[in-house]
Amino acid sequence: MNASTPRRFRPSRRAVLAGLGAIAPLGMLAACGGSSSSAADANSTLYTWISNENDRAQWQAFIDAAKEADPDFELELEGPSFEDYWTKVKTRMSSSDAPALLTTQAARAQELDALLAPLDELAESAGVDLADYNEAMIGGMTVDGTVRAIPYDAEPMVLYYNKKLFTDGGLELPGTTYTMDQFLDNAKSLTSGDSYGLGISAGLVHLGMSIGFANGGTPVTDGALTLTDPKIIEGLQFSFDLVTEHKVAAAPAAVDSEPAAQQALLNGNVAMYLDGPWMYQYFLDGLGEDLGVAIVPSESGEAKGLIQGSGFGIASNAKDKEGAFKQIMAITTPEVIGAVANTRGTFPSIESQEGEWAEGKAEDNVAAVTALARNGEPLITTPTWNEVGSQFAQSATDGFHGNRSAEEILSEIQAAIG
């Protein structure tokens, strides 16, 4: 063969098979990646947290109620568990076939800032008056001066208690006024042997934070972290002392302490436990008429609620935002919010629907929740709130075991993140 003669490339059978073998999986991967969907498909899918059948039933209640007004209304549900939601929503919304609708908590609205489109102009164009919705929740859903989600609930943290344990112990039932001293006395009276006066979760937004909030503290001021607010520190230290000094509660586990405390309330192993109204139906199913609800104890004994709640927003990269807003409005009409409040027990974000929520509930329980909701403020957070919660979760057990004070823990987090 002449050296100057160009060689004709003839791939061997092995090379061809190897090439096909390498390309075939890529083809399959591409096929699995899915194609970009139309705006209509995106508008008919809600990305939200679905931790269990209870969650799914709640979202389905919105759809069913919307179908009452419009039988052609359609909305698909998609999403991971609540714990995974706050991570996965960011990656899911980055994909080409992302849903146009998503759910957010007011406390997370700052963190999801980039994902959520402003709704003010869309609401104005559609003739929707945002003032109809709970003012505190609209405040919580406002980021950089624009509303990012329409709230469907406005739920203050409340103190659940077991009425039977209180009456058996000869104690006066707490209600719409409750001081910290009364609370501590009751917790001590209800603690004996393996039974505790109180169940505690190690989460950041729980008993200590709620008490600090009720006493006038705030973990965020003007968009900046203020974890070292004296009232917040005192509130958290009070919750630590309940375990370490007063021994009226067991130290919560390092991870997933909430389900254990909830179960302890249902089993009658603890007399009191702080949680949101979204747990009302669950606790009612377990405790029946023994379920009591009181305000969060405060120094003055007056009600001041730490309001949390969630709402529906539109993805900032949605192609048809007007269409997406129509879908949101279909599931946030007063009638729909009232119907869901009635069937699922979420405290409504529209005052006129509170009667729907109250129907069938004990009057004293309704009075306590309503007092907190009417005298409440939203928990407004920062974009770094997830990091704050994460660091607190790591350190909370130190506090509940008396190894470090609330001031040390909160100062450390404030210095690291604030």
């Binding site: 390498a22 980055s94 067991a250 586990a253 991870v255 997830n386 990091e387 130190d398 075991h401």
Partner: protein, 275 residues
Amino acid sequence: MLGFAIFIVIPLLTSLVISFFDWPLFGTPEFVGLENYRYMLTGDPAFWVSLRNTIIFAVFYTAVNLVVALGLSYWLMNLGGRWASFFRVLFFIPVVTPMIGNALIFRLMLNDDGVINQMLAAIGIEGPQWLNTPGWAMLSLVMMSLWQGMGYNIIVLGAGIAGINSSVLEASKIDGAGPIVRFFRVVFPMLSPTIFFCTIMTVIGAFKVFTQPYALTEGGPGNATNTIVLHLYRNGFSFDRLGLASALAWVLFVLVMLITAVQFSQQKRWVTYDS
């Protein structure tokens, strides 16, 4: 080669590029040069702590794993028969079970009022706060990891021992070597390539520890059990800092590469490939 490029080289290089950006999970990345590395090394309060924790975990886990796995393999060789097979399966079962499930069960056992402390209380011993005090929490991670991972090394080392020429062992017996001398003078040198392999793999695995602190302690109490990969995961997927997470990944990658390179460079001192 194409697969290597697509699944290894390109993701590696992409990760390197991302480490020079402030890269959120959603939104527009911004080039920040070496800022992520600067922050990691001089501003991130959790980096050095998590690196220290990872090294402590890796040293204890690797040392105990290899010593115990080697001892058990040697014991199984001498035991022989059906019982040896039974114990090999028994030791290997945790390896094939999901680590997250095992971690949840260990969490229940190691809680303050968990099974272990209840058993200790039954015999009059007040158990420690396994997951809530720094030293015990790290020990708990190591214990759980050993339970989960040791079976793999037992199988590999067992295969290595089975590959030793029986006539060599017979010859050492005839020469009067007892079990201990035989182990250190005959079995260990002939098994050294297998031990070297196990050491490399165990160290690499130990530096990647994630599930155990994630499920058992969330890195707490404080940062006592926070590890590099847990810190990396949180920065990337919880705190929206993919750039910093990528920088952490590269530091871990380089660190593991260096340690592995050192191990390879030192193998001449103790690894013998003569059969």
